[in-house]
């Protein structure tokens, strides 16, 4: 009984967080903020839904699914790296920041590096 409640809450929470992530993808102004919204909350949402599925298989079908555990670990490791690579590729190809951004330390560091290389 408590297991069913927990599974329901986990799946619902995951779905709501994923929906919030989709809203962030539509509403946020620049590529880096969108990547921020898409990476973190989608990872959490997918993790919650997978945990719910894992608990469902464990409680209702009495089957411990190692594949789901492996999937949870895999998504947890790889999704943030995907977000990192997206943001890095965007910054390196010169995608502009939001117009009200205050500072951009990475581009200054890259400029200094390039000047050092010229000398």
């Amino acid at each position: 009984m408590i297991g069913e409640l927990l599974i329901g809450l986990l799946v619902l929470f995951g779905a709501v967080v994923s929906a919030l992530s989709a809203f962030g993808l539509v509403r946020l102004p620049d590529a880096y903020m969108r990547s921020h919204a898409a990476t973190k909350s989608t990872t959490l949402g997918v993790l919650c839904i997978l945990c719910g599925a894992f608990l469902y298989f464990m409680f209702s079908l009495e089957h411990v699914s190692a594949k789901l555990l492996l999937g949870i670990v895999f998504v947890f490791i790889t999704a943030p790296v995907g977000g990192h690579l997206n943001g890095r590729a965007a910054h390196r190809t010169g995608v502009p920041l939001w117009k009200d951004s205050v500072r951009d330390d990475l581009s200054e560091a890259m400029r200094r590096e390039q000047e050092k290389e010229k000398e």
Partner: protein, 140 residues
């Protein structure tokens, strides 16, 4: 400017083992659940492609000194050979045998000769996919 790929390379080193485990699992479990030689081979090839993406092509080819065209050829040969072997037992081409054995660690295990055929399929798939990826990634 020097490109610093520490995060991608470190994560690749960990994740490749998960993918390879998944490939072996899919390959072995193909008899009773979704899986088998084709997708096992594809997942294995995807682990190799991830290595090629994160590191250099030359670095990986030095560490894994396999000619993937030969891998594909050996796979096709194994698949045909299992079919030919069945001819020696007076049964039609590609007949498969299945029976139970008592293995020391696993206990009673069902072993099928289809696994060898699937091994051939997996090797052929790995060889073909990696050959395609490598040959279209080369600068001419």
């Amino acid at each position: 400017m020097k490109i610093n790929d520490v995060i991608l390379q470190t994560v690749t080193k960990i994740v490749v083992f998960i993918i390879l485990t998944m490939a072996v699992y899919l390959f072995v479990s193909g008899h009773n659940s979704p899986g088998g030689g084709f997708i096992g081979g594809l997942v294995l090839a995807s682990a190799l492609v991830l290595l090629f993406l994160a590191f250099d092509t030359e670095t990986i080819m030095n560490r894994i000194p396999l000619d993937f065209k030969m891998v594909a050829a050996v796979g096709a040969f194994i698949a045909v050979a299992t079919g030919v072997v069945s001819l020696f037992f007076d049964v039609p081409f590609l007949s498969q045998a299945y029976s139970y054995f008592n293995l020391p660690v696993f206990g009673q295990t069902g072993l099928a000769t289809v696994t060898i055929f699937e091994l051939g399929v997996a090797l052929a798939v790995v060889g073909v996919v990696v050959t395609i990826i490598l040959s279209i990634s080369e600068d001419v």
